[in-house]
């Protein structure tokens, strides 16, 4: 993985010193809350319902054991011994004290981590495939490109005061594990007929109040023009965004209002300007970054055999492991969705255990996923049983990837000051209700948001749930038919909302319709797309 050079480290250390001074001045009353708020947000420090919350960037979801151990130390020392994996592959702490935040950030900086650009009107943590460098279906590791974006955009003045937040994803396989088309901009690395590497470029996606899927703005962008084109997109948005209306500031609104063709025309015009300058990223810089992502020294001649005599282990292998590009290896998904548990939460002790497993069994490599799980990307198949045993003993052995109990949920009204309703209790109740039915229901992605901001990705759920405030009472809308994968689509609301118990009942009725109507091999989403909304509505509102 990428390692900071002296320049990277100096910038992060300088930011910590700067924030320490800003915090001191705030506590001494020399800065007002209005003055201080944008400064703390630039370092990922929010004020939530119960305390300050720090969101720590995990660039493209990749971290090593030293970093994970430090995250565990921080959870114990500065928080309440746990953290929460977010839907942008980050981690956040819920109980931070402002007076301790500079010390916390200084400790984070010792392991090349920070909270910069995890908040505010900035380019947020770049998403990438959590299986990068391991996936059997990728054409190359997408992370050097994600790291290039990080380096070219962090602290860049042009991108410091964007109209609104801006989210980017990078993948290199046909299977999309990043919710690519729900991003403001995204690239899929491809090869053309001549074997040249380039990018399919997407623009204008986003969830929130007004969900839009991005459109393909370029079919093939040569690799050497990667950053110029991205910069052209950002520049068109930066120039024309609706800064007068917070609900219309995201780029998706500009794309919608201009239309895809006009937006593309303006981007291409801006891009031509960059081409005349002949400037993009230096190839040597890409090569320097890419060297950090060289494949680990995979052993050869390993056995593909897995002893499946333990049925619980066999089930876990079937659900939680994925094909690896190197013979004899597997990708291991670690579920942070124990039955009845809080999606994405992980204790400090569990962080240490996972870090140790990464160091011992996965070339010191660990990933966070946007679905709020973790990944050990490179595990020998002969080590899978030992890994499973260790995970299971730590309460991390759930076998439910992409099933009804692998639920994405935002923190909701239990933690978040923006939320209108609690998300976690709904997730817990669904998990308890459907525990043991994962095989019966197959792939079923349930995503829950506690407000219209959609941090829980409800628009992209096969079944989505949106919590709203109805006259001071929590109310939950049910949505069907969304996807964040390569078959992306926006979910549609079924009709009137429900109370907490009612929405779980309604969800079960929807799954009953699926079971009754499904054809051979169909997932819930496939059946919904084939038969439409009406049969579900009839059952849910009968």
């Amino acid at each position: 993985m990428y390692r900071y050079d002296n320049y990277d480290q100096a910038m992060i250390d300088a930011r910590v010193a700067e924030f320490r001074d800003q915090t001191r001045r705030r506590i001494e009353g020399k800065l007002t809350d209005d003055q201080f708020k944008p400064l703390r947000l630039k370092n990922g420090l929010y004020l939530q319902l119960h305390a300050y919350m720090l969101r720590v960037a995990i660039p493209y979801g990749t971290l090593n054991s030293r970093q994970m151990h430090k995250l565990a130390d921080i959870a114990r020392k500065y928080d309440r011994s746990y953290g929460h994996i977010t839907t942008r592959q980050n981690i956040q702490y819920n109980w931070i004290k402002l007076e301790e935040a500079p010390d916390l950030l200084a400790e984070l900086a010792t392991v090349e981590m920070h909270g910069i650009q995890t908040s505010g009107e900035s380019i947020r943590n770049v998403s990438a495939d959590q299986y990068a460098g391991a996936a059997a279906d990728e054409i190359m590791d997408p992370r050097p490109w994600a790291e290039l974006i990080r380096q070219m955009t962090n602290f860049m003045p042009e991108f410091s005061y964007l109209p609104r937040k801006f989210k980017i994803a990078v993948i290199a396989s046909d299977q999309d594990r990043t919710a690519l088309r729900w991003h403001d901009a995204a690239v899929k690395i491809v090869r053309n007929a001549a074997g040249e590497t380039g990018f399919e470029v997407y623009a204008g996606g986003g969830m929130g109040r007004t969900p839009f899927l991005s459109f393909r703005i370029r079919d093939f962008l040569p690799a050497g023009q990667f950053f110029s084109y991205l910069q052209a997109i950002l520049r068109v948005w930066n120039m024309h965004a609706r800064r007068d209306n917070i609900h219309k500031q995201r780029m998706k609104i500009l794309v919608h209002e201009l239309g895809e063709e006009e937006f593309r025309r303006q981007v291409e015009e801006e891009f031509l300007h960059f081409e005349t300058l002949g400037e993009d990223f230096p190839q040597a810089e890409y090569d320097r970054i890419a060297a950090y992502f060289a494949p680990p020294p995979f052993e050869t001649g390993l056995s593909e055999e897995i002893d499946r005599s333990d049925p619980d282990f066999a089930l876990w292998v079937d659900r939680q492991t994925v094909a690896h590009k190197a013979p004899g290896y597997a990708i291991v998904n670690i579920s942070l969705k124990p039955i009845g548990g809080i999606p994405g939460d992980i204790s400090a002790d569990q962080m240490d255990i996972v870090a140790d497993l990464a160091e011992r069994y996965s070339f010191d490599d660990l990933r966070a996923t946007h679905a709020q799980n973790l990944v050990l990307p490179h595990v020998r198949k002969s080590d899978l049983y030992a890994v499973w045993k260790a995970l299971d003993e730590a309460g991390l052995g759930a076998a439910n990837l992409d099933t009804v109990t692998d639920i994405i949920a935002c923190p909701g009204l239990d933690y978040c000051s923006l939320a209108n309703a609690r998300s976690i209790p709904v997730a817990e109740k669904i998990s308890e209700r459907f525990a043991g039915r994962e095989t019966e229901l197959g792939e079923l992605k349930i995503k829950i948001s506690g407000c219209i901001n959609a941090c829980g990705h409800h628009h992209a759920g096969h079944i989505g749930i949106l919590g709203v405030d109805r006259k001071g009472t929590e109310n939950y809308q049910l949505l069907l038919g969304g996807s964040g994968a390569e078959d992306a689509s926006a979910a549609k609301i079924t009709g009137p909302g429900f109370d907490e118990a009612g929405v779980v009942d309604a969800l079960e009725k929807a799954t009953d319709v699926y079971l009754a109507q499904r054809q051979e091999g169909e997932r819930f989403l496939d059946t919904y797309r084939r038969i439409g909304m009406e049969p579900f509505k009839e059952a849910i509102y009968a």
Partner: protein, 98 residues
């Protein structure tokens, strides 16, 4: 009744105006009538509260209960982590929120 809440500037902890100062416990919250903005102006200027605001609450036998669920969650803590609430030993405390 009208009560005042906010967050402790240094720690971020949820606090309630008790008539003399700030308490971690909503049971201590005082009815400030129409003096809320006046109190907040003084306390904010002195950096004794961050993001303070006045809310409506009802009087109950157990003390003030905010009318809005968001402030009840703030008063209690995350409903999904009773162990992190101010009353971890009281199994009924969470039911007060909903």
């Amino acid at each position: 009744m009208k009560i005042i809440t906010g967050n402790n500037l240094k720690t971020g902890a949820v606090i309630w105006w008790d008539g003399q100062g700030w308490s971690l416990h909503i049971e201590d919250a005082a009815d400030v009538g129409d003096r809320g903005d006046q109190i907040l102006a003084v306390e904010d200027a002195a950096c004794r509260v961050n993001g303070g605001y006045v809310i409506d609450a009802e009087k109950t036998a157990k003390g003030p209960r905010p009318l809005h669920i968001k402030d009840r969650v703030r008063a209690y803590g995350p409903t999904v982590r009773a162990d992190l609430s101010l009353k971890p030993a009281d199994p009924e405390a969470g039911s007060w929120v909903i």
